[in-house]
Amino acid sequence: MTLLGQFALWAAFLLGLWCVALSFSGRWRGRPELSAAIVRSVYAICGCLLVASMALWKGLIAHDFNMEYVWAYTSRNLPSSYIFSAFWAGQKGSLLFWAVVLSLFASAAQWLTARRFSYLMPYVAGVTSAVITFFVSVMIFAANPFERLGFIPADGRGLNPQLQNVGMVIHPPMLYLGYISITIPFAFAVAALLSRRLDTGWIHAIRKWTLVSWLFLSIGITLGMWWAYVELGWGGYWAWDPVENASFLPWLTMTAFLHSVMIQEKRGMLKRWNFGLIIGTFLLSIFGTFITRSGVIASVHSFTQSNVGYFFLAFLVVAAVLAFTLLYTRWALLQAEVQLESVLSREAAFLFNNLLLVGIAFSVLWGTLFPILSELVRGSKITVGPPFFNRVNVPLGLLLLGLTGIGPLIAWRKASTANLRRQFIAPVASGLVTLGVLLAFGVRDFYAVTAMALAGFVAGTIGQEFYRGIRARRRMHAESTLLAFGRLIGRNRRRYGGYIVHVGILTYFVAFAGMAFKRQREATLKPGDSVEMRSPFGHTYRFTHLGVSQYESLNRIVSAATVEVAKDGKPAGLMVSEKRQHVDSFKRPTFEPSTEVGIRSNLQEDVYIVYAGSVEGTEEAVYRFTINPLVWWVWFGGLILVFGGLVTLWPGGGAIIVGPRRAQSGYEVSLVGAGKD
């Protein structure tokens, strides 16, 4: 099978080179048969990479431990779902995963894009093939998943226990899908620049793609938080680790792009900025892969250091130089069609939103690279950690949250005082009521209170938008409230889907703010001993250590510590936290021991118990008890966000219909640019 895999990689590599050369030569212009050949080569590359993937999966399933990759990431006693996901557990496999998924996306882009954009497609094929060829060449020349060992081991080394978790089976592919799918909008942007067709055509062609990749990134990041929370056992879900930051960066710039394209579509402004943003987002997605793979920056997530990093660095530099040079040569063609009319306009709110998002991205990038930068400039390595990121990003994030509430309230072009008064009264009142309630309940943390009050304001904005939309429909069509609600969303999916996403975002903010009130306590307990903790919501928890039991499971030896929980004096059941020592099929330990956290969630707070080991030879156990407020709302916010994204993506009502004809009541809209749709 490895021979077939090798062969398939080489075939993909050569086809890729051919496709790139033909596409960028421009020879296909006016020669439909050549254009068709380019498109077919995209499908052919995809076919080759699918064959290569099958070959790798075949090796994994067949326990072919003579294959270095199979030996390194699986073992005979590994549960079968993890054998499947071992495909992307290691560096070499995830390179193949990148390549094959990108080729699937590239084929889908060729297949699904409407005929009217056919002038872009051969260039799009060239860009996607160039990126695929890069990944394939890294595999062929530096990290080949089909490499064989000189001997046949009896068993593999097994999969790291921390990767043996449902979240870890789907988190990396989701994040990768996000990273990878960014290539498609980037390819359209480059194609538009190359073809000098710089109207909003390319933006229309990628509307769904940008949302798809943004959605995958969001899901991937949220799943990553969940994995860190349940698996790493330090009691939180976000630590500003370089690898986490690397996934956050393209998400930020993509979010900025999603907003700024609306201005270009409606007002013909921000053309250069949009090209810059999408190029930057693509580079950040490659940078993210580079950070994860290279070990340049010390991170708890980092994979082994390897020369693969140099390939990525070189690719990053070449791609950046080429893309920005191309943008520079088309600079003069990208003049804005109109000027900003007023700072009190939705355009301006979107511009500020973009600046904030890019500012946050810059500060995260700066903090992540600071150890390297300070060593280069000052000669001594200085690191910044979570305190830095929180200090910088909490205020910026809150400003952004405020803008989320303001943006939808101001009219395009220029808002009048009457418009402002009419729009702001209810949301501001909602924010003030939230503030009052929080203060009345004795909540005293400046940032947390601000975040929640702002969330109240944004919720007011969104509620008002829905209320007015429903009222207008009820008046005009005599519909019931529920029907009006459904149709309101159905007929304006992009707009109301967007609002639902905003609800998800403000749910995140509230949940993040909750972590300001986290309580933690460590204790060493003999069986029968107990400790008491008071939660921020005023509940009293009593934890009684019952004892430690040991047993063997399929691929591990487990020590389980059991705690009896009483909440407000009433028994609330047992919780278990485990220390696991994973072993291979000969009962030899494979990895360092890992902790299985005991978690119990409700809408208010999570009880989070870590068993950190026993005093030698006794059942006296060391525990860390944590009470994490509002954690459940992070996952819930993620679900809302995904739902909103899907509403926006759902085919059919996707086109923006915001002509004067359908203008919302309550808006002083006159959309000059809207007719172009």
């Binding site: 790291n160 921390q162 700072v343 500060s363 305190p387 021991p593």
Partner: protein, 137 residues
């Protein structure tokens, strides 16, 4: 004032506060990341470094030097870069990756005491290849 000018003012305000927050953040929260040799050089050059300046120390745990008192949740060990060695004492729970095996890389955050012992406020352990199995000895 024209709209464009007002917008530039707003933009400048945002860019300025981002720059300010970053600069202040680095100044207030940035800590030295040192190797034991560099730490020795720092303390030799600037005696006030002892007791006063927080830092992160990246080094390897000296095999066999780990002494755990689980009941008191205290751990003592030595770190070294092959040139200089420092004793460390830490109250708290160390991560799973901190094992007694050889070749453990750690990052110790804390201050150097007058007695030459590092009082750690945080200990991170990194297995050289986190997502790969421990090589068999």
């Amino acid at each position: 004032m024209k709209a464009g000018r007002k917008f530039i003012l707003g933009a400048a305000l945002i860019v300025g506060s981002v720059a300010f927050l970053i600069a202040e953040g680095v100044k207030q929260t940035g800590v030295y990341f040192l190797t034991p040799t560099e730490l020795a050089a720092k303390t030799a050059a600037d005696p006030t470094f002892v007791e006063n300046v927080g830092f992160k120390l990246g080094a390897k745990v000296v095999p066999g030097s780990v002494h755990r008192d689980r009941g008191a949740r205290r751990i003592d060990f030595q770190v070294s870069d092959g040139v200089r060695t420092y004793p460390v004492t830490y109250h708290g729970l160390v991560p799973d990756t901190f094992t007694d095996a050889s070749d453990i890389e750690v990052v110790v955050e804390g201050r150097l005491g007058g007695d030459g012992v590092i009082r750690a406020t945080d200990v991170l352990a990194k297995c050289g290849s986190r997502y790969e199995a421990v090589p068999k000895a």
